[in-house]
């Protein structure tokens, strides 16, 4: 992948982050921390990896992405909207009565959402079912799933991990959003998951460790996963919860809290600064401005 396109993805990720913070701020509730930590991976997936057709969200040959950590719905919604599944203006209706943008993803209400999630620990099993179906049909589409590091404390995750390797599901790639935090504090203090890579290896998975904010590393690992035969791959992605908003970074208190008006303003300033810095590096006008800041600011 050329550096030019990685640059473009980084700019898109900055827009996705902006949308996340803005929609949660507007809604007055939601989960910014784990949405922001997942933003680079979701951008890489929706703008480079996944074979999709936003005009035809039910296209049978599409790749499937399951957001197992469903509380990061704002990141998924931002990526889907930017990718053209529905108008960006819909993001304003996050968490409102009657909105297709439910607090947690609902596959029956919003095009592009592949699984209803929100109760943690269930998405990997669902993804195993999808991957088994693809294999039965000799289909070429692939299955991707994202898990939280707190989420993998759920026993069901390990039941699914066992099943995926038992069936040699090399059409399945998981991403672990390894941000080190859950609601009540650091994952290692609440309930240790260490050594995380060894656990997945012991369950028969191919494990690749990357910096989850380095888009070229994410893409490289994803390609390696695709080329790995006979077993599923998990990409253990080191991330920072709240990434991109200085006062949210690394703070578990920002797991499930919306910014107030003043905090929102500061967050958006920071993210716009990031977007223009990225654009300047690339000698192009500010990415957020380019994307019609007037309608969303």
């Amino acid at each position: 992948m050329s550096t030019a396109s990685v640059d473009a993805l980084q700019r898109t990720a900055a827009i996705v982050r902006r949308r996340i913070v803005e929609m949660i701020g507007r809604a007055g509730s939601g989960h910014p921390g784990g949405s922001l930590s997942a933003a680079d991976i979701l951008t890489a997936l929706y703008f480079h990896v996944l074979r999709l057709d936003p005009e035809n969200p039910g296209w049978p040959e599409r790749d499937r992405f399951v957001l197992s950590k469903g509380h990061a719905a704002p990141a998924l919604y931002a990526a889907l909207a930017e990718r053209g599944f529905f108008p960006v203006s819909e993001l304003d209706r996050l968490r409102r009565l009657g909105s297709p943008l439910q607090g947690h993803p609902d596959m029956k209400s919003l095009p592009g959402v592949e699984a209803s999630t929100g109760s943690l620990g269930q998405g990997l099993s669902f993804a195993v079912g999808l991957a088994l179906a693809a294999r039965l049909d000799k289909a070429s589409w692939r299955v991707y799933v994202m898990l939280g590091d707190g989420e993998i404390q759920e026993g069901q995750v390990w039941e699914a991990a066992m099943a995926a390797s038992h069936h040699g599901l090399d059409n399945l790639t998981a991403y672990l959003d390894y941000n080190g935090l859950q609601i009540d504090g650091p994952v290692e203090e609440v309930m240790s998951i260490s050594p995380v890579a060894d656990k997945w290896r012991a369950f028969g998975w191919n494990v690749i460790e990357v910096d989850g904010h380095d888009i070229s590393a994410i893409l490289r690992a994803t390609r390696d996963a695709r080329e790995t035969k006979g077993r599923p791959t998990i990409i253990v992605a080191r991330t920072v919860k709240g990434r991109g908003v200085s006062f949210m970074e690394g703070k578990h208190g920002w797991h499930g809290k919306a910014p107030n008006e003043e905090q929102l303003k500061q967050a958006l300033e920071e993210l716009d600064g990031l977007a223009s810095a990225l654009a300047a590096e690339d000698g192009r006008p500010g990415a957020a401005g380019e994307d019609g800041e007037g309608t969303s600011g």
Partner: protein, 320 residues
């Protein structure tokens, strides 16, 4: 009875957290478990005061219930807390086999029950937990109506031998009782006598029924209000009394109309004193995101819907 000197609203989950701290001092056998929601369930208050007797099990509810059962079998009084959608919802068989069947004294105190979870939406709104919990043999099911009743119910649960499911809410609710309210498992309070129809409610619908009774009184329909805070075992004596006195019953709960308080009351009365029972609750469907008040309105959990149901019950009675 209503206490106008106490206008402050308190969430039942908050009263639960405070009651645990209060009870924990005198009872070193009380232990508390949570599954990464201690700030929300308010068990955090106990964790801060008695860190040695608090176990954060991580996001692993099934394990939490199993561990609580082991603690109970070895003489502890465990309170295990998460959201109602996860216990009893997610961990039903662990509760059934490890807790209810051996009749172990695990107190499952779940918060964020019902629609008033609000913006998190359907995935987090438990509208089925009363149905699930009450069909388990040996299980006691309690839904307190306000902060004072919650406190009293926590103390009653500690004294009660065997498993208890305590259903708690997220949003602050008005006080119905004075702070020194006492609680007896399986006994209902008649908050209001009424000759024409009995409104039998639990949780935040008790207050809603009190409001409905005022509306109905203006139409000369005298509605009694019963706080049916023990959904299992039912207070059969009080239910028989109000059914025979009024001859018409309305049930009201922040739960599906299937299988909860309405289901329990209907099952009981149909076999012993059949009268019309009109159930107010959430129709057979899932919740959704929205503000708590908006959702109660949209799903018909309002005083005006209770009043409609009461008029219907009275009409049914007369039509017989």
């Amino acid at each position: 009875m209503t206490n106008p000197t106490e206008p402050k609203k308190v969430a039942t989950r908050e009263a639960y957290g405070e009651a645990l701290v209060e009870a924990g001092g005198a009872r070193p056998d009380i232990v508390v478990l949570d599954a990464d929601l201690s700030a929300s369930t308010r068990t955090q208050l106990f964790a801060e005061k008695y860190p040695d007797r608090f176990f954060n099990m991580g996001i692993a509810e099934a394990n939490m219930i199993g561990v609580a059962a082991g603690l109970a079998a070895a003489g502890k009084i465990p309170f295990a807390s998460t959201f109602a959608v996860f216990a009893p919802g997610r961990v039903y068989d662990q509760i059934r086999l490890s807790v209810a069947y051996p009749r172990l004294g695990v107190k499952i105190a779940s918060t964020h029950a019902g629609l008033t979870v609000g913006e998190d939406g359907a995935s987090h709104q438990s509208l089925e937990d009363l149905a699930l919990a009450r069909v388990l043999p040996n299980m006691t099911v309690i839904v307190p109506a306000d902060g004072a009743e919650t406190r009293a119910a926590v103390f009653a649960a500690i004294e009660h031998e065997g498993p208890v499911y305590l259903r708690l809410g997220r949003v602050p609710v008005p006080a119905i009782y004075p702070p020194d309210k006492r609680f007896t498992v399986g006994r209902y309070d008649m908050l209001k006598e009424g000759r024409d129809v009995a409104l039998v409610a639990c949780g935040l619908m008790v207050e809603v029924c009190l409001q409905a009774a005022v509306t109905l009184a203006a139409e000369d329909i005298l509605a009694g209000v019963v706080n049916a805070s023990t959904v299992k075992p039912l207070d059969e004596e009080t239910l028989t009394y109000v059914a025979s006195r009024a001859g018409a019953v309305v049930t009201a709960e922040e739960h599906s109309v299937l299988g909860g308080l309405g289901g329990a009351v209907t099952e009981f009365l149909s076999g012993i004193h059949p009268v019309p029972v009109v159930r107010v609750g959430v129709d057979d469907r899932f919740g959704q995101s929205g503000r708590p008040g908006e959702l109660l309105e949209a799903y018909g959990l309002t005083a005006s819907r209770v009043a409609d149901a009461a008029r219907k019950a009275v009409a049914l009675k007369k039509g017989r």
